[in-house]
Symmetry: C2
Subunit: 221 residues, 2 copies
């Protein structure tokens, strides 16, 4: 029974990692579609986001069945953490879908000058996500704790991008639609950083049975 | 043991309803601050949002302890549903905080003409939330199923508001900052409607052990 339980728990973790890989790939693809002006890439994103949605449901179903059999409090924590992380991954897929849709719209008009801040925010959000997921795989609370402090940097980048785009619109009203699309893209990336932060906080809780959400403790080291 | 468990489960449900009442009050207060141009009202919102954050953590802690003792699959479903709903309520508090911050910014400049669409979106989002929570309290899947179809209407209103504000900025660049703030407020309301939809879907799952997320089934009746 316990061996069987451990096997099923292993399958649940594997499914979460499949979901994580897919979520990361979707964000990269959506941003590549935006940067290389490739609408055919963007069109694949909503379809793959459906796969992510299905995985979330499968994980929830497996998780509830496993909760009924979990012998240890640590297993309960792991299973509930997996359910939470899977919801964040699903939301990351939604953000990627929004980026992809905006990439399609942006391709209908001439390109604006590339934004180094947008690229930095993109890299930062993906790095935070990779770090949070690696912390989950290794059960590494030190690595997990290094993610939330980076969230402020993502917020700052988003605000800078927002300001630049507002200035650009003010100078040239013809760029308004494109600037508004890019503001949405920037906000999506900032939200992906938020989700990575949530995941990292769940990993700390998992490792230390301590809830660092909303305490600011995650920001202290 | 079972009586004790039922008592604790009752306390968990009560705490969720406290959280729900607070989340609803925060949204109303933030929108009132916006509509009546009352920055002193807006300033209370972030503080009360902290209370919401603490309640989410308390619910998570109680829920994990209860999961270990839950005798029935239906209890497991209820407890995991409560954890999910509490996360949505916490996010609603975050949206209310964003609205309140924008209300403070908007008060620094002369008012724009009131938007009937924004008022409709506000009323619609709060009505969806109230309906989803009532469906939870009554375990009423029919009422819960009536929420997701209204989400499309919220999306449409948000798009209309966005379009009107874009037109206004294009006609009068001096309104740009205010229009951008109002676009954020509108998006926050649209997200509150999304969270209400998530809650309603959790209630359907709870009542029927059927996952209607991402299937479009919620939209058929």
């Amino acid at each position: 029974m316990t061996l069987h339980f451990q096997h099923e728990l292993g399958l649940l973790k594997e499914k979460l990692l499949t979901m994580a890989g897919l979520a990361e790939a979707l964000v990269s693809r959506a941003m590549k579609a935006l940067e290389t002006r490739a609408p055919e890439l963007a069109q694949l994103v909503p379809e793959e986001d459906d796969a992510l949605d299905r995985l979330e449901i499968e994980i929830d179903e497996m998780a509830v069945l496993l909760l009924a059999k979990a012998p240890l409090a640590s297993d309960l924590r792991l299973i509930t953490a997996i359910m939470k992380i899977s919801r964040d991954l699903e939301r990351i897929g939604d953000e990627a879908t929004t980026i992809a849709r905006r990439a399609v719209e942006l391709n209908l008009e001439p390109p604006l000058p590339p934004s180094p801040e947008l690229r930095r925010l993109h890299e930062s959000a993906l790095a935070m996500l990779a770090q949070a997921l690696e912390a989950f795989v290794r059960r590494d609370p030190v690595k997990a704790r290094s993610v939330p402090p980076r969230d402020k940097q993502a917020d700052t980048l988003n605000k800078q991008i927002h300001r630049h785009l507002t200035d650009l619109m003010a100078r040239d009203a013809g760029t308004m639609n494109r600037c508004l699309h890019l503001m949405v893209v920037s906000k999506c990336l900032e939200r992906i950083a938020d989700h990575a932060t949530n995941i990292a906080e769940d990993v700390v809780y998992l490792c230390e049975a301590l809830d660092i959400r909303h305490t600011g403790k995650g920001e202290s080291d």
